[in-house]
Symmetry: C2
Subunit: 142 residues, 2 copies
DNA sequence: CTGTATGCAAAACGTTTGCAACAGC
DNA sequence: GCTGTTGCAAACGTTTTGCATACAG
């Protein structure tokens, strides 16, 4: 519920029924790390004739606009994270693949010494922690 | 040149011509962040009848054995990093996609507060910096 | 009215699988 | 000789593309 649509309209984003539905799915606040196909599924529930291609197009644009974060936790399908406005990291369960947003102490960007990034124009960092979640520990770790 | 083969033999790894070639490609020291397909290409240069499936199998095993790191910098093809024995991070150019190994100051794992990983059995962290490399800055950034 | 977004279906891409033949130990 | 590995080709899941149509501005 972060007025994604509001912001997009303000940027002169051409608003169609399909785009609205995609934005609403992402903005619904609850299901946070959807794959493109999951987004399509939820979008199609509200607007049955929406095509996969449109969902891919729209997601790609939202990523370019910086409104949505794209990342891949497992090399398979990319996931889309509507929580692009607050810096955060991910904690992925190596058992079930579930993804949690987490927050680290300092600024991860600052961890890279100047000497290592010499000549580069740094833009961002991605940080992904991996581990077994409590549920999977109970089942596997025994 | 880190005696990957030596180590694998020591672990009772069944050594075939194909596996040797794959290990040699990864161990050749120079081309560091190959995709599975690139590995296959280089392997096939030495042993033409090697199949893609075998390369995938072998890479998967090397990853399980902890000898090779698997990561995806772009959501497309996975990349294989033979430098699994020394902790390091990646710096990816958002222009040309080139990948550099970099090293940060502290221990990235320690950056995650206990409260955030409560109940989890942490296993590792991945850290990827993004930015424009000097070449791409010259061409694009103007 | 114009340009852009859409739907469809097909293709591209990376990866996995099933299975018979084969080869290391 | 037993067992695990290989090659092949086909299947798979995800994403991209080309093109004619529809619609927001």
């Amino acid at each position: 519920m972060s007025d994604l649509l509001e912001r997009l309209r303000g940027r002169g984003w051409r608003l169609t029924a399909q785009r609205r539905v995609v934005a609403e799915v992402l903005d619904s606040g609850e299901h946070v790390h959807l794959t493109a196909d999951e987004v399509h599924g939820r979008a199609a529930a509200r607007l049955p004739e929406i095509s996969r291609a449109t969902v891919y197009n729209t997601l790609g644009e939202l990523v370019s606009l910086g409104e949505v974060l794209e990342f891949s936790a497992d090399g398979r399908a990319k996931r889309y994270d509507p929580n692009a406005r607050h810096a955060h990291q991910h904690l992925v369960c190596s058992g079930c693949g579930s993804i949690r947003d987490v927050h680290i102490a300092g600024d991860p960007m600052g961890a890279l010494p100047e000497s290592e990034s010499a000549g580069y124009a740094l833009e961002g960092v991605e940080m992904t922690f991996r581990g077994l979640c409590p549920d999977c520990r109970a089942k596997r770790g025994a």
